[in-house]
Subunit: 396 residues, 2 copies
């Protein structure tokens, strides 16, 4: 009887250990530090050296609280003071969107700053990476990120564009610069590259080390805004027009945005900034949907752009090159990249990207294929892709 | 007996009506519209013509949900699908911070964009104002808001400054401009004026109507960052130094910030921008703590600034003027303002602001006293104050 009791206790303890392992203690390395994406002075969320994210929130009357990250919901455990705490399995290095689930309500974590992705402003957390130095804030000369809002005649409404100018732009008033048009992905917006993308810090650091030519980067809203025609008795002005329900791919994602980019954004930038406004000094790159836009826009418009980057957003095939005969002669750089975890799982969007890039290289185009180690369809892949692309661009 | 039953029912219905009135139906005008501060495509929160804010969130397993706005928590009511809905009493016109309370957890509303105030990034809602046109987005020429990050040698860490340049700044490359240094309040940061403050839209509209001289506006982080000395066995670098617990007034709020403003920020701006870098063309203004900083900085430094604005942040007394003898001759404009609901309730910070301003005016200083109608210590008072101040500044 006593032996049986001990056996039951051991089984219970084992079950308990397994269950705790998911949310808590035994197997977890206790070297958690606050995420640099936290709000000023907030301790949580924290991240440990394994990449586990630990969340904590005061919710004394809640029935359950979960940390929702990487498409998995991890149960938090309540302490005697009413705080819920617990952590995730290890996450990839870099930036991740997440949220909390309190009794079925998906809400932002009040400990985090807010980032736009997956179609909403929400919480984000940063897992330290082996190469975090690339985008660390350092005591080096810093560029400027400028926000332009304007009325788009083509898309009939307010649009926003961010412009990175390299260190020295304001002081060297006679120098002119090449320009990269750099696009976000689907479900994201024009804030992504200069916020979680760390574009300005990546460029400041590369330029300080002499690894990249200083150039201007233009980060625009690549979403085409569909508007419902106003109802007859509707006295709302155009600003208040509602958007159509979401669809994929979003209507206007290629042709609508191409029209805005070539006929509104580029002329505005060439007017407001000291650009070198010719094809030799104009690049386009983008991530995911932005990579697909880059492909759709640069293939038939290689007289406008000489350098092309597609990050986790497909590739250019030999057929593409043959169908656009000027592309081969016009393009000085074709850069294709993916996260290592994306490859071999159907992420190719029309052919194996490595194979396509090799074949296109054999046709005489200056190609580069880059794989971000141990990352997926996520910002760490795209930060690294920009870091690589920026060192190749405008070197001719 | 039957009469008694009816009487009881009437009483019960009355109680029920009163109780519903707080959160719902009978007395509330059903003309709610989504707040312009909402996330893209989100219907809630909504605001009606009385200024009531209606929140709605899906929280099927919650025990209670409250809308926490204006220091009052309003109970929401659950519908059969698991959505909680309800609204507040009427709020003042303009912008308000708020949050949701789900089973004791204070969290941002996922329907809202995020704004920094009260020491945290959180939800905001906009009650339409009689004068919303002042800060509406219109199809007029728009200025640019530029973000500068830099290493502050004085405060030993990263600091951020936003700079508004008026429409035409980039194109008119030989024109030079006056500069206003414009500060946020306590618990806020350098994002406030260009986000909920609507500085760029207010200026774009004033300039388009010819009501203000175009000038540059510099919006800096006015918080002095206290850092703990690193522990002996602490290998964190300076970036990760923790902040000291909050105190009021924050240490360094006057002298520390004065040092940064005069010795780092103004020289940086005069180097990077086409300023008219003399006292005649340099103004300082601020709200609340920023107004108190303006007073503390401009009184002894009237050789640096010629125009002074204090919004809900105290006033300049005859004693102040006598103690700083150069102030009277140096200052071309002294603008003091408050929200009407702030006056007469001890908000003066050292003397009745209207009386002080009149007396200082009698001493020969060009003074203006402005009262924002039916607003309190809140952003609508400060938007209107900037709108008035900007029409008076640099008119000499």
């Amino acid at each position: 009887m006593r032996k049986q009791l001990i056996a039951v206790m051991v089984i219970l303890m084992t079950i308990s250990t397994v269950s705790i392992a998911q949310t808590g203690s035994t197997t977890v390395k206790e070297d958690f530090k606050p995420s640099p994406t936290n709000q000023n002075g907030r301790e949580y969320p924290m991240v440990n050296s394994e990449g586990r994210v630990r969340a904590k929130i005061f919710a004394p009357d809640a029935n359950y609280v979960q940390l929702d990250i990487g498409a998995v919901k991890y149960d938090l455990v309540k302490d005697e003071e009413g705080f819920w705490i617990g952590e995730s399995e290890p996450q990839d290095e870099g930036f991740h969107y997440y949220q909390l689930n309190i009794d079925g309500a998906s809400v932002p974590d009040p400990g985090s700053k807010f980032f736009y992705g997956a179609g909403r402003w929400g919480s984000g957390v940063e897992v330290p990476a082996y190469d975090s130095e690339k985008y660390a804030f350092k005591n080096v000369p810093h560029g400027t990120v400028s926000e332009h809002i304007y009325y788009s005649e083509i898309n009939e409404g307010m649009k926003r564009t961010f412009v990175y100018t390299p260190p020295g732009y304001e002081e060297n008033t006679s120098k002119r610069y090449p320009v990269l048009y750099l696009q976000h992905g689907g479900g994201e917006n024009e804030f992504g590259w200069s916020s979680q993308g760390k574009t300005n810090l990546i460029m400041d650091n590369l330029i300080a080390e002499g690894k990249a030519v200083p150039f201007i980067i233009v980060m625009s809203d690549g979403n085409w805004t569909m508007r419902r025609p106003p109802a007859n008795n509707n006295d709302n002005d155009d600003e208040e027009a509602e958007e159509r329900p979401r669809q994929w791919p979003p209507s206007g994602w290629a042709d609508g945005f191409k029209n805005m980019l070539i006929n509104e954004i580029i002329p505005m930038i060439d007017k407001k900034y000291r650009t070198i406004s010719d094809q030799d000094h104009r690049a386009m790159a983008g991530l995911s949907m932005g990579g697909m836009q880059t492909r759709a826009i640069t293939l038939p418009n290689s007289d406008v752009f000489s350098q092309v980057g597609m990050f986790s957003g497909g590739s250019i095939s030999p057929d593409d090159v043959e169908a656009n005969p000027e592309f081969k002669d016009n393009i000085d750089l074709l850069f294709i990249s993916y996260g290592s975890r994306e490859l071999g799982n159907g992420r190719g969007f029309g052919g194996d990207p490595k194979e396509n890039t090799e074949k296109v290289g054999e046709m005489g185009i200056n190609t580069h294929f880059y794989v971000s180690p141990e990352t997926a369809h996520e910002w760490q892949s795209w930060r690294r892709s920009l870091y690589e692309f920026a060192q190749l661009a405008f070197q001719k």
